[in-house]
Symmetry: C3
């Protein structure tokens, strides 16, 4: 048994299954994060919104490509496939790193699918939100090296996916990235906010989150929302070069370090999942929120004509 | 009933009355923050240290001008008037934003009035401190968009007022800003420190607070203590231009986001108000502190001659 | 009795003995931080790894020079001497500040002595770790002004010592500084991480700690890991000039402010000391960690040939 395999066996390998305090090693691998209601549907066959490919240059690295045309909206099925893909890679002992990107250059992801929040039953919005929590817990807490190759616009939930990785390379060009929820009259939940706080600090988050700021690539680099800019045709190359650096670090040491730094943020949602789902559904079902989502969808339709 | 009015009604609108965790919506509007001992004197007639004017360019925006010559010291009466003014604007449903500035360009505010701490009875220092807490809770937790137009020097309590706003524009010139309490041998309380931590981060706060640093305008911009610099004759214009950006955001989304980010810091003082008052009065009444305040006042007198 | 002496008497003067919340003044001076098992051996005579000299230009300032050739490894005896030296200065009422540097320019400190972790008994690694905790608690929580004159390489534990001071000047040249533990397959404990978080913020710490980054002098300055760069032959001069600034602040105000900002971080380890020792010993004794340390030591031997 290799050192790494031994370590993975000992810790359960998945960060979310580890307790946030390194010291309580005893309970590390006992608490599965997945809520049944999201997991049990993951077997559903359907279109491939999430494509997983082996990286041809790195042994042990996979590429996850989001492919939900036209703008990679994060609908419930997309989120379920994403959770599934992350699970498979996490439990694949030959996999050490993953690059998250879009199959549709120009757009990384437009974020949450508004149609999942508009005129839906509480059961539906509950389920949608659980799946989103699930994906974030798996991605932010992944034991793999996670690198976002942000090859296009990345607002709202798209920005969350990017921020949840270990490193962000973004294509140069007229793209933007940010949590712009307030512009639609909705509110990023505390764990979106926490993820941003851990990335760009309190003051920048206060401004960005209240104003719903969408940052241009250079601005995003300047405030640390992304780590690197690359020419659009070189973004995968840049992501792979960065991956090489991270793979030089022994996995067990990197994972324990990542857990130490991200554990408390993950645990905060873990202990409040039900509350958070209830809050979201209660909020999104309010008449004035539904009205404002309706108006937004109307404006999108007009734009497309 | 408009969306905003409905939202305000539902949440009680005042941030300090909301609980820090978004989820416990039930208790949002039940706990008034005001301590009786500060509030009951607010009706006192007296000179107008705090002038509230309507902004002529923005509907729904007011301007608060501090006017306590010569240096806008924050005495007990000034603080009471400020709390009163903030209360009125907060409960005025036509008001959405406020610009905080000085009626005496060259000095934003010199901070706490030393005479309120020197040779006073414990009752007097208790009352003074409660009023200061009150103003900070109302300003830092205001549901309005708050912009500081820092048109002059802004040491100590003046810096606190500025940092408690959502955005800071400062006049270019030979002005300084910072929490310089240690220079006088006194100590900024934890909530001054927390406000600074949320603005410039831990490391800068550690240095600035221990050294009692007063930053020049460019330095302040560089470390993020202010957000923007404007020519002295254009500072109100700059503040109004910035206000326009913030007013584009739906109030309910902006307020919930602000609450999420500032709630825990506000709640920390809320739960420790009495302790904090007792600590201040105990500290300030110490012989060696009184002696050092006396020496400082003596040096001020000499300077004025 | 001078103001300062009165203050020291009232507070017990030592930061670690103060409780983290300013308000509970009653219990400030009652809890000695030293664990018996580290302290009782401090009397041992032996070589002088830690030299304490008076600064010739500043009254009240001492210089601690680490001198454990060739690379100032932090072995158990070195740590015990360091704890002892810090204790003596802390209780010397004429001492107000200390400059920490190396007697061997070119290397500040190579960090923890690997031989203290390799093929040792649990008792030995327990003791070693307790001494390291002790030194950090005394240095990070020192009531003295602490300035690191980093006159050479400063990896791992060397970086921790530097980060625990109030201010860092580093020699220009081909030196590096950082917490590079993951490169050796080991993991910086939470309090190394916390110290770094308080210095360079969350995002930079996440990258630096996972990648085991060793920063060049200019990079370190850029991310705020050090505060200043000086020519190697002017580093002590630079440290002394900076010391002058800090000594202008009344000690009691500076100490209370430092306690407010560092108290919670110190208390976190204080309440988990035993857990932390047990975790370290359990981790370091693992077969695959021992193997990886063995390989590292082997590689060092080859390099020296």
């Amino acid at each position: 048994m290799s050192t790494l395999t031994a370590f993975r066996a000992a810790t359960g390998r998945f960060l979310p299954r580890m307790v946030p305090h390194l010291h309580k090693t005893s309970s590390r691998c006992v608490i599965p994060i997945s809520s049944v209601s999201c997991q049990h549907r993951l077997m559903t066959n359907g279109p491939n919104f999430i494509r997983v490919e082996k990286d041809d240059t790195h042994k042990g690295v996979s590429v996850i490509k989001m492919d939900n045309k036209p703008v990679n909206s994060l609908s419930t099925p997309v989120l379920m496939e994403m959770a599934n893909a992350l699970d498979k890679l996490e439990s694949d002992s030959s996999c050490r790193g993953v690059i998250l990107t879009s199959a549709n250059p120009g757009i990384f992801s437009a974020g949450l699918d508004i149609f999942e929040m508009y005129q839906k039953s509480p059961d539906q919005t509950n389920h949608f939100w659980k799946c989103l929590q699930e994906v974030w817990l798996k991605l932010y807490g992944s034991s793999l090296v996670t690198i976002a190759a942000i090859n296009g616009h990345s607002p709202a939930g798209g920005c969350l996916m990017a921020m949840s990785c270990d490193y962000r390379v973004m294509s140069s060009g007229k793209f933007t990235i940010g949590l712009n929820e307030t512009l639609l009259g909705i509110v990023a939940p505390f764990w979106f906010s926490d993820t941003m706080l851990n990335t760009i600090g309190h003051r920048q988050t206060e401004k960005a989150l209240q104003l719903g700021s969408l940052f241009k690539v250079d601005q995003a680099l300047d405030i640390g929302l992304i780590d690197q800019v690359a020419e659009p045709d070189q973004i995968m190359e840049a992501a792979k070069t960065e991956m090489t650096k991270w793979l030089k670090i022994p996995d067990h040491a990197r994972i324990l370090t990542k857990q130490m730094l991200r554990g408390p943020t993950l645990e905060k949602l873990q202990t409040k999942r039900d509350e958070d789902v209830a809050f979201f559904t209660n909020f999104i079902q309010k008449e004035y929120i539904q009205k404002s989502l309706g108006m937004y969808l109307e404006s999108l339709k007009k734009r497309q004509k």
